[in-house]
């Protein structure tokens, strides 16, 4: 743990899911397509010995602007929610450098676990209107979805694939210190 990490008080920090967002961004056709997961969990644990974060998102809660697309994303063609209902992330050693965060961790998608390098920013803890200590953590990671067996695609008239393989996973988390 670096010296700058001491600015975050030790203890357990729980996710405030209402004011957090976990989703993905992927190039599709002529732009970037985004989706979110409504049902997410995360916990940040900070102790003198180090910091740890783990989080999860339920595939069945994927939120896009079309229910048929949501159904397709949950199907075996994509995340296969029936067999692999939960996406997971865990990092046992969080490395802080000022406001920036580098988190080498492991991500599990469609039952496949791979190491991933997550980067982001950490806000200074504040005390909210209800007296809770609260901090913000923004994380992102880039993965190749085909490494996890999420292989769907369809060719454009040019023959090029419509959907990119590289996907950015974005988590904007607000965490509240447990009493």
């Amino acid at each position: 743990m670096s010296a700058t990490q001491t600015k975050v008080p030790a203890g357990t920090w729980n996710l405030d899911p209402v004011h957090s967002a976990v989703g993905f961004e992927v190039d599709y056709l002529a732009g970037t397509f985004r989706g979110q997961f409504r049902d997410v969990q995360a916990e940040l644990g900070i102790a003198d010995s180090g910091a740890r974060i783990e989080g999860s998102a339920e595939v069945g809660s994927v939120d896009v602007k079309d229910e048929n697309l949501a159904a397709h994303l949950q199907s075996p063609d994509f995340f296969d929610a029936e067999r692999f209902p939960t996406l997971r992330f865990v990092a046992e050693e969080i490395d802080l450098d000022g406001e920036s965060v580098a988190v080498p961790g492991e991500i599990t998608i469609k039952g496949v676990t791979k190491p991933v390098e997550v980067t982001g920013t950490l806000s200074e803890p504040i005390t909210d209107a209800y007296g809770n200590e609260r901090l913000g953590l923004k994380l992102s990671a880039r993965v190749d979805r085909t490494d996890f067996g999420v292989d769907w695609n369809t060719p454009l008239p040019t023959g090029n694939p419509a959907l990119a393989n590289d996907v950015t996973i974005v988590a904007e988390l607000q965490l509240v210190k447990a009493a």
Binding site: A71, H72, S75, P76, D77, E82
Partner: protein, 189 residues
């Protein structure tokens, strides 16, 4: 008891794909109940105006057959490099509404026969794509019966040993997919 809905995509009475389907049925063990779908010819063209509670009786029966099955086994011919219209049309009815259709997560396997050399491989590929888009759990296995008139005897028995072995493997893969899903449901319960 596991129930498999078996579908021939051909309407012709002496269809090679119907023969292939009947051969496949024999590879299932006795504890698997097979329903061979008939009535494909009675399904009208998909029209959203006709869908819903007032959908045609043949469509209700079609949807009930899919809903009552644990898996789907389809043998398809190939028309102009693709899936026959009547088969695609039936799947279009079954797929609506997409988010709750009875094919979602259901194991499905595709085989095919054609009079040409390639055994309906393009139709099979397109059918797998269609099934996946509907949300089925498409089993990655293929049997392509090319030169179909030479592959069956007078009784309709598939006589090519390699193809028979492949057919047995496809049936086994489908049954395994069903068993895996049933185990998953037991674990979750």
């Amino acid at each position: 008891m596991t129930k498999v809905l078996a579908i021939s995509g051909s309407l012709r009475s002496d269809s090679f794909n119907s023969k292939l389907l009947r051969n496949a049925v024999e590879f299932f063990s006795d504890d698997v109940e097979i329903e061979i779908l008939d009535g494909l010819k009675d399904i009208p063209p998909y029209d959203e105006d006709d869908d819903g509670d007032g959908a045609p009786e043949a469509v209700h029966a079609l949807r009930a057959a899919f809903a009552g099955a644990d898996a789907v086994f389809i043998s398809t011919p190939e028309y102009n490099s693709s899936v026959p219209g009547q088969l695609k049309n039936a799947l279009d009815w079954v797929s609506r509404p997409l988010a709750t259709n009875p094919l979602r997560n259901k194991p499905a396997v595709v085989v095919g026969a054609s009079t040409g050399a390639f055994g309906a491989v393009w139709a099979q590929a397109e059918l797998r794509k269609v099934l996946a888009a509907i949300g089925a759990r498409v089993v990655e296995a293929e049997v392509a019966v090319g030169h179909a008139p030479t592959r069956f005897d007078e009784d309709g028995t598939l006589v090519d040993e390699d193809l028979r072995e492949q057919l047995g493997e496809v049936v086994e893969a489908l049954v395994s997919a069903v068993a895996e899903r049933q185990e998953l449901a037991r674990t979750a319960a």
